[in-house]
């Protein structure tokens, strides 16, 4: 059922919710949290669909703050969706216009459920410091998505600078299955120490950076983050854990099926598609306390990842070793990136990137040439920029 309330106020919305409950009988589903989705008008349907899907596991009230045209007179249009149109939750879409656009917190506060935790999610552009944002302050948890930013790697660096307990980023959620598989490989004998880690992924994939950072921090060994071959598609491409008795390699050449190779074992295939938004959101909502591991990986792990500086980026299948570049500086004169699409690299390592060639990508705004010459991440440099 969908109820439209044009030009309305929060207290009228509350009244409407109460009426619904009284007339329609209690839906008898307890709400375990309030999810506030902050987005732009016209970009809200996908996040709402993801929230509805996740609501089966976490019945909740979803409040969508959709920011519309600023140059209009201040107004709020609301839409209430319950029942089949809302999964197992109730959805309240608030479209804000005019100067109200910047005052989402004031309209959201009366609609928050009593007692329950509040999760704030920015599926698209997120504020500089989510924890200081007027709506972010209302949240016990704040979820951002570095992938949806214009410059994902830079965005990840910003997340690192402005981290507060309760923040997480979906770039971290996207690699949970990779992490599970890798942890499972180390569960088995032989329990040898991993001496080095190489993680390859597309140049603007913050998930790849985080994966490398996690391995570096957890395994306390040198970790390289390199660029994957151009045709391998977005996201993480491969992880190689080097051990004396033989490497462990988990390679996903085309974004769908991964190959696991270990010494003395046959090659094994497993389905490892890129995770959907709804899966990621359902996982995020499962725990509402601060994610300590994410904090450690973001703050301590990222700087531990060395820059690889080979011309094309190593691919584990060929076992190429990348030469180490000094962590804080990528020499401007280092070999240019020779990607197949002919991107030119930025000259100064301190500048996260100047967008050069426009690359056709799925659902991404402008792509970016990464900081260093060969495309490896340079988080320390990016942090040094501020």
């Amino acid at each position: 059922m969908i109820i439209d309330l044009p030009s309305t106020t929060s207290s009228k919305i509350n009244r409407a919710m109460l009426d619904l409950r009284e007339q329609g009988g209690s839906i008898a589903l307890s709400r375990v949290l309030t999810l506030v989705i902050v987005t732009e008008d016209g970009q809200s349907e996908d996040p709402i669909a993801a929230a509805n899907a996740a609501s089966f596991e976490h019945p909740c009230r979803v409040i969508v703050v959709a920011r519309g045209a600023r140059r209009a007179s201040p107004r709020m249009d609301a839409q209430i969706r319950v029942g089949g149109d809302a999964g197992a939750s109730e959805v309240i879409v608030l479209r804000l216009y005019g100067s109200l656009v910047d005052h989402g917190a004031s309209v959201v506060t009366p609609l928050l459920l009593a007692d329950s935790p509040v999760v704030v999610w920015w599926p698209g552009e997120a504020p500089e410091v989510p924890a200081d944002d007027p709506i972010g302050i209302l949240g016990d948890r704040r979820i951002t998505d570095a992938n949806s930013a214009k410059r994902p790697i830079a965005q990840l660096a910003k997340r690192r600078e402005t981290y507060r307990p309760g923040d997480t980023d979906i770039a971290w959620t996207r690699i949970t299955r990779w992490r599970g598989l890798l942890a499972a490989t180390l569960d088995q004998p032989p329990h040898e120490k991993v001496t080095e880690v190489t993680v390859a992924g597309s140049a603007d994939s913050p998930s790849t950076d985080l994966l490398a950072a996690w391995l570096a921090w957890a395994l306390r060994c040198p970790a390289k983050r390199v660029k994957a071959p151009a045709k391998s598609g977005p996201g993480v491409h491969s992880v190689v854990l080097a051990r004396r008795g033989g490497n462990i390699a988990l390679v996903r050449p085309e974004g769908v099926t991964a190959e696991l190779t270990m010494a003395n074992q046959p090659e094994r295939l497993i389905s490892l598609p890129r995770r959907t938004l709804r899966e990621c959101l359902a996982e995020e909502l499962r725990r509402l306390d601060a994610d300590d591991i994410y904090a450690d990986v973001l703050l301590k792990g990222l700087p531990m990842v060395n820059a690889g500086s080979s011309a094309k980026g190593a691919t584990p299948a060929r076992g190429a070793r990348t030469a180490k570049a000094p962590a804080a500086k990528a020499p401007a004169s280092a070999a240019r990136s020779r990607t197949t699409r002919g991107k030119r690299s930025a000259d100064t390592p301190a500048e996260p990137a100047a967008p050069t060639t426009r690359r056709r990508r799925r659902a991404e705004p402008e792509p970016v040439a990464p900081a260093t010459s060969d495309g490896a991440v340079e988080p320390a440099a990016a942090a040094a920029r501020s």
């Binding site: 089966f56 299955r177 004998p189 329990h191 957890a218 598609p273």
Partner: protein
């Protein structure tokens, strides 16, 4: 709930598993399952879909293998087709070609009878081949989806062929379904029989109720909250009713059911486990040993009423109209002798001899062709010792109750008295409800998924151990003996009702009555 995260298969600490890392899924190590009885209903409706769903959730290892063993003349492809159809029909997660493709590459079928030595040698060779080609690592679980009569021969074969012997760091486990024996003696014999071939830590008995979220929630409810523990004793609790009702009859399972009966089928396992979880003391931790210790302790304190005859009731469903269909009575069903003395309804009153529960009866009932399909635990509290209301105002007031709905419509309800809106002070019962919402979501794992994964992970908490099984039989055996002596003519109850009159009489004698679930 019962976190397996703190328990690794090997004592070595995995640096990638930080205990604070709650997101990290616990994926099974390289392994495979062999299903004996793979053509049966259980395999088709529960096991195969559960395995697919586990793979779809990313919880099975790459290179997982599923081997079917049966007499049919099937090739690997035929078998894959069977699994495919079962999965399409009964799986809870959406079908993914990719997941299916990788999973089905690990399917194998071995044709043979249980007493066929060659077939088992072929099975051994197949497993070795899977280790080599799929990378199952020598870790194999043998699922016995077969009648108990077949256990001895299959176990003998597993021993003869060496399949039960792990080498080095491998594991070999056996998974058995209820019934775990027929009475105490046969249960002990069965335990001994299995124990000769597999050590106890490698034996996993499936009581699928323990894999249900709501059953695990019972422990969360009791021990995570301050609210309930102070009233969870005989000062406040009047009695407890545990019900498992089905609206279907025996149908095609007549051959299995006759001679067993409702009490052995349900009370001995599911209901006594539910009773144990409701009544047990708080475990020190949720580690398997601590949990099982408390369950054994509480089961060993269970007592039967002195007057056993009036503390038990049984019946058989008659033919008649049930919910818009005409159905046959039990004695008229296909494959059931008209003189059968097997009960399709059983109720028993139990007591617990400890300080917490002395004087609180636990009424357990189960039956087929009852009003509806429902499983629940109702903790009924005593009435207030003094009510300042007038009699007429509280005539409608019942007892406070806390009801845990195990299935369907999983959730917890509290019933309490509330003032009826109006000018007078009339009080009536109302419900305060917590519901899990949709029960068929793909997000929450089905019981079998959880249990199969725990078998592969070697996580024993959700599986009753041999001592629990034996204690459960010690409780039920005297009841069965009483019924055997009482003869084979059982009271009939109309289909769709809530049981025979003797069941109501059993409660009425104590001044109580059955709740309508």
């Amino acid at each position: 709930m019962v976190s397996a995260l703190d328990r690794l298969a090997s004592p070595v600490v995995n640096p990638l598993r930080d205990p604070r890392d709650k997101r990290l899924p616990r994926i099974a190590g390289p392994s495979g399952i062999v299903i004996f009885g793979v053509t049966g209903d259980l395999a088709r409706k529960k096991l195969m879909p559960a395995i697919y769903d586990l793979a779809n959730r990313g919880l099975l290892p790459p290179g997982f293998a599923l081997v079917g063993f049966a007499r049919r003349d099937w090739t690997n492809e035929n078998f894959a087709r069977i699994v495919h159809d079962a999965v399409r029909e009964h799986a809870r997660t959406p079908f993914s070609e990719d997941v299916w493709r990788h999973l089905s590459e690990g399917f194998r079928f071995v044709q043979g009878a249980f007493d066929d030595d060659d077939a088992f040698d072929t099975l051994a060779a197949t497993l070795l081949d899977l280790d080599r080609v799929r990378g199952t690592g020598g870790n194999h679980a043998f699922y016995f989806s077969i009648p108990p009569g077949a256990f001895p021969v299959v176990l003998k074969q597993l021993r003869r062929s060496g399949l039960c012997e792990p080498h080095g760091e491998e594991w070999r486990r056996v998974v058995i379904e209820k019934p775990f024996g027929h009475d105490l003696r046969s249960a002990q014999e069965l335990n001994d029989l299995v124990g000769e071939v597999f050590p106890e830590p490698s034996v996993f008995r499936i009581d699928h109720y323990l894999g249900k979220e709501t059953v695990q929630n019972l422990l969360a409810l009791r021990f995570a909250n301050q609210l309930y523990e102070p009233i969870w004793n005989n000062n406040y609790v009047d009695h407890v009713q545990i019900t498992q009702a089905e609206d279907i009859g025996v149908g095609g399972r007549a051959g299995y059911y006759d001679g067993i009966g409702a009490a052995r089928d349900v009370i001995q396992n599911h209901l006594l486990q539910l009773m144990a979880l409701t009544a047990m003391e708080e475990p020190v931790t949720f580690r398997p040993n601590d949990l099982r210790r408390e369950k054994v302790k509480i089961l060993s304190a269970v007592q039967l009423p002195k007057d056993l005859a009036s503390g038990t009731a049984r019946g058989q469903y008659a033919g008649g109209w049930q919910g818009a269909s005409k159905v046959l009575g039990y004695l008229e069903e296909d494959g059931i002798s008209p003189t059968s003395g097997t009960e399709t309804y059983a109720a028993v009153k139990l007591l617990i001899g400890n300080r917490r529960w002395a004087g609180v009866p636990f009424y357990l009932r189960t039956g087929k062709r009852l009003g509806k399909r429902v499983s629940e635990i109702a903790v009924v509290f005593k009435r207030a010792p003094h009510l300042p209301f007038s009699r007429s105002d509280t005539e409608e007031l019942g007892s406070n109750m806390l009801v845990i709905r195990v299935q369907p419509d999983e959730g917890v309800t509290i019933r309490f008295g509330s003032k009826v809106p109006g000018p007078s002070m009339e009080v009536r019962d109302v419900s305060m409800d917590f519901s899990y919402g949709q029960s068929f979501t793909e997000a929450s794992p089905e019981a079998y998924e959880r249990l199969i994964l725990d078998v592969l992970l070697g996580e024993p908490s959700l599986f009753p151990q041999d001592r629990e099984v034996e204690l459960s039989w010690e409780i039920l055996d005297p009841v069965e003996k009483l019924w055997a002596r009482a003869g084979a003519k059982l009271e009939q109850y109309p289909p769709g009702s809530w049981g025979p009159p003797s069941a109501d009489a059993m409660m009425a004698k104590d001044g109580r009555r059955w709740r309508r679930p």
